[in-house]
Symmetry: C2
Subunit: 164 residues, 2 copies
DNA sequence: CAAGATTGAGAGGTCAATCTTC
DNA sequence: GAAGATTGACCTCTCAATCTTG
């Protein structure tokens, strides 16, 4: 405490900045810890795997090139390769050749993967509601979306994230 | 697309729920990816290491028991052991015996660790501002904090998170 | 020779077993 | 015997090197 005061923080966040930022990080950490724990215990799927499946279901034909899938999940090329290996091994996804470019592989959701995702979504939505959404009025939900849209234009309405 | 309609989502989120939730996740993923990348490149520290240092600086005498540190960072006992091993190896932290309980070890920030943290905070705050805070008015920052406090009471004002 | 994807070797994380102290 | 912390063995991730096609 004494030492901390002797080496003061340069250009600190303002009071309201600090409180909003800290609450944002704390809420996210709390909610995702609960999400990952419940998805694992109830569906034997990690939050990361859930993210991959939910990304695919929202896309035409439920298939995406490996690189595009990695870009949308913000993960590396080698990590998406290994994650899809595992999901394919379990029968939730299937690779196929890309007719438009023979370097590229398409990663598709299978019928089994779709059923798995639908079941997992019940848990996902339950956690999202119980840890955040259910406490908020419709007006507060819209405020939240508006505030985020102000900070990162496109983040609310854009179908793909990050944008192409 | 055709198949997705045949296996519909049970109990979906409402429109405003969906938009607020998705934006929340997208903003967090975007900001933390940028944060981790810049902390690594400018200070050779991961976001996780930064989180450990920032947790310690906010606490009396800048020291915490290993288990309490793990609890506040939402990570396992073995992971905090190895993370502190590395931070100690680099001179940013130091372990000492806990006089109150000889089973327990205290993990303390060193003077070098405090200087490292102060430097990293400049980068941290720059990213936090540029990706989220700077676009918001003081009123919007307060709205954000209020909305989070509604969802998880204590998340804004509590000095320790998660609460004891 | 650049882009898309995968692989091998090494670094880092996880789970159960262990050691010490309460 | 349970709690606090660490260790060992296994598993996953990362980085650079590789293979293939544009």
């Amino acid at each position: 405490l004494r030492n901390a005061n002797k080496v003061p923080e340069p250009d600190p966040l303002s009071g309201p900045e600090f409180l909003a930022w800290r609450a944002f990080l704390r809420v996210h950490a709390t909610v995702t810890a609960e999400l990952d724990a419940r998805l694992r215990s109830e569906h034997d799927v990690t939050l990361e795997q859930y993210g991959i499946l939910i990304t695919l279901v929202g896309v035409p034909e439920m298939k995406l090139r490996m690189g595009e899938l990695a870009r949308r999940r913000l993960i590396s090329a080698s990590k998406i390769t290994r994650a899809v290996d595992e999901l394919e091994r379990r029968g939730y996804m299937q690779r196929s050749a890309d007719p438009a470019d023979r370097r590229s592989h398409l990663a598709a959701l299978t019928a089994k993967g779709l059923r798995k995702l639908r079941a997992a979504q019940v848990t996902h939505h339950d956690v999202a509601r119980r840890c955040l959404l259910a406490a908020l009025s419709e007006r507060q939900l819209q405020q939240l979306a508006r505030v985020f849209e102000t900070a990162l234009p496109g983040v609310v309405s854009s179908d793909v994230w990050p944008p192409p």
